[in-house]
């Protein structure tokens, strides 16, 4: 963080003694955050009749692994998982391409209409998808893209925030760097590949993380565009499973837990980057 001075590291015991109440409060808060997730895991191994037992048994009598297997045989969860992966990875890649190129264009070139184009794109950041979902659905239907990967991927390929974020970052690059490459005879596309990309690595990984996260969790749009099982994404598949099998709570919790696991693992591996990507959103935005 610019401007932040390093905090002197005091011995652990002293820090503990300085903030006892705060520590207790934060422990309670963490417990509240984790409780629903532990409940989910615990319920996922039970028999349906055990779910509402009083008092609640946090450690099930026996671990019913079947709860994790049976739903996968009843409904195409694996397919939904693959769909979610294909869609989120492609959308993220598309977003990186469009945001790096457009961000560079809006930051370092001055052609007529540049500000108007940027203004239009930025304005859409403040317009929620829910406000134009009806004509968007009609358009995608008229293109023949309902229940296709194209329909799930291409319309989500541009993100106003990602473009704004790349522009802000590229603006901080010195112009001399680009001019020097030009004098060396580099073509414009080559400058993007060998000057802009390597210098924008942190910004790119931030965009990759939040685009992936948004898209992996996206709901309303795939709900409308993918109505057939074969093209549903995981959140939509889960919601449809919930409305059809809602009484088998252990199975419902098992598949929900499975669906949550990949993102959770990625999050724990990349937690620093995740949190920084979100933090930068606020500071740069």
């Amino acid at each position: 963080m610019p401007g932040a001075s390093p905090r002197p590291q005091r011995p652990f015991v002293r820090r503990l003694r300085e903030h006892p109440l705060l520590l207790v409060a934060l422990l309670l808060q963490s417990a509240l955050v984790l409780l629903p997730l532990i409940y989910m895991l615990s319920t996922s191994f039970k028999l349906p009749v055990e779910v509402f037992e009083v008092p609640m048994r946090w450690i099930p009598r026996e671990l019913r692994i079947e709860n994790y297997v049976e739903p996968l045989q009843q409904r195409p969860f694996v397919r939904w998982f693959i769909n979610s992966t294909i869609v989120a990875v492609s959308v993220t890649f598309l977003n990186l391409v469009t945001s790096v190129l457009a961000g560079y264009s809006f930051a370092k070139f001055s052609y007529p209409g540049r500000n108007i184009l940027f203004g239009f794109i930025l304005a859409t950041f403040f317009i929620p998808l829910e406000a134009f979902i009806v004509p968007l659905f009609i358009l995608v239907r008229d293109l023949g893209w309902l229940n296709t990967y194209a329909g799930l991927i291409i319309p989500a390929g541009g993100n106003a925030f990602a473009i704004f974020f790349m522009r802000q970052n590229i603006m901080t690059l010195p112009n001399d760097l680009i001019e020097a490459a030009r004098i060396d005879g580099a073509s414009e596309p080559r400058i993007v590949l060998s000057v802009i990309l390597p210098l924008m690595r942190t910004a790119i990984s931030s965009i990759a993380i939040f685009c992936f996260m948004w898209n992996w969790n996206s709901f309303l749009y795939p709900l409308l565009v993918a109505t057939q099982d074969a093209y549903r994404t995981l959140p939509i598949g889960l919601a449809s499973f919930e409305s059809a099998y809602s009484t088998n709570y252990p199975q419902l919790m098992a598949v929900s837990f499975l669906a949550m696991l990949p993102v959770l693992i990625v999050f724990f591996v990349l937690q620093r980057q995740f949190i920084e990507a979100i933090a930068l959103q606020g500071v740069k935005g």
Partner: protein, 293 residues
């Protein structure tokens, strides 16, 4: 050689324009066009088949005189305030707590962020079971000597049954944003204030709040948009029920368009949603702009 220079510049700019093109085309086709089309459809009758028929302001007249839609607007406002006022306040408290030397603060920061990465669909499904009549929350209430609350069946409790998971899910996002803001404030400001004899509250009032203002502004704008466009928790947990008690604008748009096939009426609701977001964003902009000067 001025002519050569111009043509070099022009060629560069042509490349610059070409770089913007993929984004411009995607936004033109999949954002700007449907946004304009929303306004067009809002004054037509259309049911996904045939051609739209011009009906003037009939769609707006209908929704604005419909008591059900008035209820929907109130529900949306209640949800947005009920969720994001606590979220923003608690997030600021959390950020201040995590910005101290408290032990394990990185662990707390990560735990607090977990709900942010989980799909809303999953969050809604889990909380639906927690709010079950015999579920964990009612069990706890009985233990504490209270009556069970029919969370998802009563019109007075259901709005809260949707708000509580939302606070749980959204808190971590705003905490991280505020924490990043706090960390940009140079520590030396606080030391200077302490030397001048300022207490903790004064330092918060005269250093933290003013320097955090741009981030507070950004966070409030995001929160307002998130609040009024909310869809998933209501859609998954209550379907907008019981008797419309949790029906919000986005659920109403979805239902009107895709269950009742009234595209024009849904588009009119969308125009209203758009107007609400615009007014709220501009108001905040004005307030922020005035305070800054």
């Amino acid at each position: 050689m001025p002519r050569l220079r111009i043509s070099v510049r022009a060629r560069q700019n042509a490349w610059g324009f070409a770089f913007a093109l993929p984004a411009v085309v995607l936004f033109g086709v999949f954002a700007v066009y449907p946004i304009l089309r929303t306004f067009y459809l809002s004054v037509h009758r259309y049911s996904l088949v045939g051609t739209p028929e011009y009906v003037g302001a009939a769609n707006f007249r209908f929704i604005l005189t419909d008591p059900g839609f008035a209820q929907t607007l109130r529900n949306t406002g209640f949800y947005a305030l009920g969720t994001y006022v606590p979220v923003l306040a608690l997030a600021l408290v959390m950020a201040l707590a995590l910005n101290t030397g408290v032990p394990f603060r990185n662990v707390f920061r990560v735990i607090n962020f977990i709900p942010v990465v989980i799909s809303w669909a999953i969050v809604a499904i889990v909380w639906k079971i927690l709010f079950h009549h015999q579920g964990l929350i009612n069990q706890a209430l009985v233990q504490l000597g209270f009556e069970r609350i029919p969370w998802l069946q009563s019109t007075s409790a259901a709005p809260w049954a949707v708000i509580i998971p939302s606070i749980w899910k959204e808190l971590g996002f705003y905490t991280v944003i505020f924490l990043a803001g706090l960390q940009t404030i140079p520590r030396i400001f606080y030391e200077a204030a302490r030397i001048d004899g300022a207490g903790t509250l004064q330092a918060f009032r005269f250093i933290t709040l003013p320097l955090l203002r741009p981030i507070l502004f950004f966070a409030t704008i995001i929160a307002v948009i998130e609040g009024v466009k909310v869809f998933i928790p209501q859609f998954v947990m209550t379907g907008g029920g019981p008797s419309g008690a949790t029906k919000v604008i986005a659920v109403s748009i979805y239902e009107t368009a895709f269950a009742f096939g009234r595209m024009g009426r849904a588009a009119a609701m969308s125009v209203l949603l758009f107007a609400i977001v615009l007014i709220l964003t501009l108001t905040q902009n004005l307030v922020y702009g005035r305070d800054r000067s």
